[in-house]
Amino acid sequence: MDDLERTFREGLRAAVATKPPLGDIDLESFPGLRADARKHRAWRARLAAAAAVVLVAGVAAGGWYLRSTVVIPAVPLAPPTSTPVQSAPTPTAGPADGLAGMRWVASNVGGTAVVGGTADRPWLEFSAAVDGRRDVSGSDGCHRLRGQSEGTADFINLTGWDLIVRPCGSVEHQQQQSRFVSALEAVTRLRVSGTDLRLMRADGTVALRFDGTPTEALAGPGDEPTPTTPPATRIFTPDPNAEENQVHDYPQVRYRNDSTATFERVLLKWSDGGSDSAGIDIQPGQYSGYVEMGYVRLNPYVRVSVKGKQYEWNPPNPGRKLTRGNVTYVLDLVDGLLTVTAEVQD
């Protein structure tokens, strides 16, 4: 077995070690097994209790060795819904209070000082917590971000990022934007002290550092994209079967109709070396299939037809180059205005 295979094995086992509990198998849906289901639950409870003891003992034994290197959180991000494994230590820090009502402007991304002026700096804003959940909005310095956070200061979970297409800056800024989003992905905990916010990785190192400013002290209009002339491109028809069984060596692109209207026709065009994607009769909520696009940039020109009328979205610029990953363009039509949101997984 070579090192790479060992890496795969260890990586998969590490992932399994963090998975949420299975909970009870619904053996009640097998009527003849109800009695056994009760036994099964009792067995699971005993196993869970034993596992919790092992976990606590393991954390206690490993704590000294791991103190300065890898920190293993002792409780899950979200409480398990059904399996009663609750005897691990609880985090000492309280909820991430002091987050809301501030704009957190990044000062350091992955150990590198942020470049650019105020407008080019990544920032985040957190809403007030509701049941431990917060909406998070912000920018990587170019693209608008939306997401959610869940959990406590020690075990925050940042997910569901939507990337809203906007103009990008220089190559240096684009590299910073990429580092910022990558750093966000690695965040599992935070520390907030006054106007100092630190988002940290699982190993305790600081992924991102922010300076906070009360949002009421901020002023100025929102910065929505300004339509310009659409770029010229080539024509191409998507393969409806492209979603599965494809090797993602190139960007995989699809779109979703997020409006309440049926899109009679959808056209996406990329300006540089990319292809076009067209579809017909896309129902509300419906996804297109994934299409492998080759090397394209992020921002396409989009045109949809609804009841014979055409609606366009013109990107201000092509955006950053995509070389891999999945992109879902979320198309919405509100009051005659077509909006395009790119959900990106690099």
């Binding site: 992932a15 890898v70 965040v187 990953g325 997984q345």
Partner: protein
């Protein structure tokens, strides 16, 4: 002793003539459900989907329990049922991909160089997220379930060469990613 047992998905009932069948199925659930859940979690990468896939797989196995083959054929049937359940769940619940799975970073193999291990395991998780469900299934069966390529092919209903190709391409991709990360 005869028992009449309702099925989960079909109207009507199925008669099981041996109480031992019940006992063996319950024992199977007790012994194997967590392991099946591991596979489902790795393939679907979503806790709800993984639970649904396990439940669907068990329901499918239960319907045919008294007629299932034994030995290696039984294991192949179980794997195939779980794989089909996972892929079916993924297919019927299209969604945008989560950008981050920070939960995957919470633990890592504890080695003298824990930081490197953390990075490597994180890279494996990220890479698996970029694979197609079918490729990911092959990788999980190979490196988590430690199946041979012939067994993977049986579980996935494909040719052995195809299973081998899925795994090798995924590994090549991980090699590139890890190399990039070291530069």
């Amino acid at each position: 002793l005869s028992l009449v047992v309702g099925t989960t998905q079909e109207a009507g009932t199925v008669a099981l003539t041996d109480a031992g069948t019940h006992a063996s199925f319950t024992a199977f659930v007790r012994d194997r459900s967590d392991r099946l859940h591991d596979v489902a979690w790795l393939v679907t990468r979503n806790s709800d989907d993984a639970r649904d896939a396990v439940q669907d797989a068990l329901a499918g196995l239960y319907r045919h329990w008294s007629r299932l083959p034994s030995g290696d054929e039984f294991e192949a049937y179980v794997h195939r049922t779980v794989v089909n359940a996972c892929l079916s769940v993924i297919r019927r619940r299209p969604r945008s991909f989560p950008v981050a799975e920070p939960a995957s970073l919470r633990t890592a193999p504890v080695t003298p160089d824990g930081v490197d291990a953390l990075a490597a395991s994180d890279e494996v998780w990220r890479l698996c997220g970029q694979l197609t469900p079918v490729q990911r299934t092959a990788v999980v069966l190979r490196f988590y379930e430690d199946l041979s390529f012939a067994e993977i092919a049986k579980a996935m209903g494909c040719r052995e060469a195809t299973a081998r190709s899925h795994v090798h391409r995924a590994m090549a991709r991980l090699r590139v990613r890890l190399t990039e990360g070291q530069q």
